[in-house]
Subunit: 208 residues, 2 copies
């Protein structure tokens, strides 16, 4: 076999994928800050220097992880945002897309939105390159809704965008803690909850 070279002879591409998968699980489990490269290496069945040989540094490893996860997520969200829906429907389409594309691997979201990545580092910038794509789309959708309601305050729009992305974050995090739940089931939950909240908020608005 031409591919089998070296002591264990796993070709570089394959090994890189194994390392990436192990690293994504570890980063999702304990966060970038608390993760250790040697733990990732052991999980991938190899030794630490091979990880450094392939990814350069812990930060480089994270950047590779977040580039993979971020492309999957941002591509899907851009796709579902391009469907032309507005308001609640647009939001639910986004959730539908995310539950579909992250089915079986909801932990990838946690790699993207990892609160343990230190500010100002290259790791944070790499994550921001992807989350900024989501942010732009979210501002768009949220702006439409607030504008309809007569609120054009830019800070309100920024805060509402953060709230919306925070809601996605909460749902995806809950999903990562319940990995047996299929994506379709999570989507159904979100739809039920949205309906319930709409009823409650509508009633509250009428009462106030």
């Amino acid at each position: 076999m031409a591919a089998r070279t070296g002591t264990k002879g796993v070709p570089r591409r394959d090994r890189e994928e194994q390392i990436l998968a192990a690293a994504q699980e570890e980063f999702a489990r304990v966060g970038y800050g608390a993760a250790s490269v040697v733990t990732v290496a052991r999980a991938a069945g190899i030794s630490k220097p091979l990880v450094y040989s392939y990814f350069g540094s812990k930060e480089g490893l994270y950047v590779a992880c977040v580039d993979a996860a971020g492309s999957i997520v941002a591509d899907e969200v851009e796709r579902s945002a391009g469907l032309g829906a507005v308001g609640l429907e647009r939001g639910l389409l986004t959730v539908a897309g995310l539950t579909a594309v992250l089915d079986g691997r909801p932990h990838l979201w946690r790699v993207l939105f990892d609160p343990t990545v230190p500010d100002g580092t290259e790791a944070a910038r790499a994550a921001a390159r992807h989350t900024d794509r989501l942010h732009r789309l979210a501002v768009e959708g949220v702006g439409e809704m607030l504008e309809l309601a007569g609120d054009s305050d830019p800070a309100d729009r920024a805060l509402t965008t953060r709230i919306w992305i925070g809601m996605l974050d909460t749902v995806l995090r809950w999903w990562a803690e319940h990995p047996d739940e299929p994506g379709a089931s999570v989507l159904a939950r979100v739809e039920r909850i949205a309906a319930g909240l709409a009823a409650g908020l509508g009633a509250g608005l009428a009462a106030g």
Copy 2:
């Protein structure tokens, strides 16, 4: 002065408060995981061993911080939950209480909900003792709303509770990044946004 003892002569109680204030700012700024005790000590104008002499360990320091912050927050939320409001009104009363009691110190919230605290540690348990109080109240309020909408699925209720607390977390975090904003102004934003979302969700529900 009877209080001035020792080299610099700051009595223990006063010093403990200074250390606590510095630690809360540091924990809020970079998170428990990334914070270092020596940085806290320097910010408080003293040396590291004094911090250890008064608080025992980094974990003990965090427990003291989170006990102070958690009591302030949980007491207020229990108070506003006891006012008898339901649905959206209850939620807005909670936000009103939080913006009032955290005015000038919104960073205390970040100490309570610090995602960099490692799971399974005493620090995490100390934070959970306070956040559990909030969680119980949130489940209550959220349960009412979902029940009214005909959704009695317990997992739906748990997820919705997390979403609600996540929304509070987002707002309080945004506030901590905009410390010049007075609490009343944050509350006004949330009220405008809630009205906007209610309109949007209501319209989406009618359209779907």
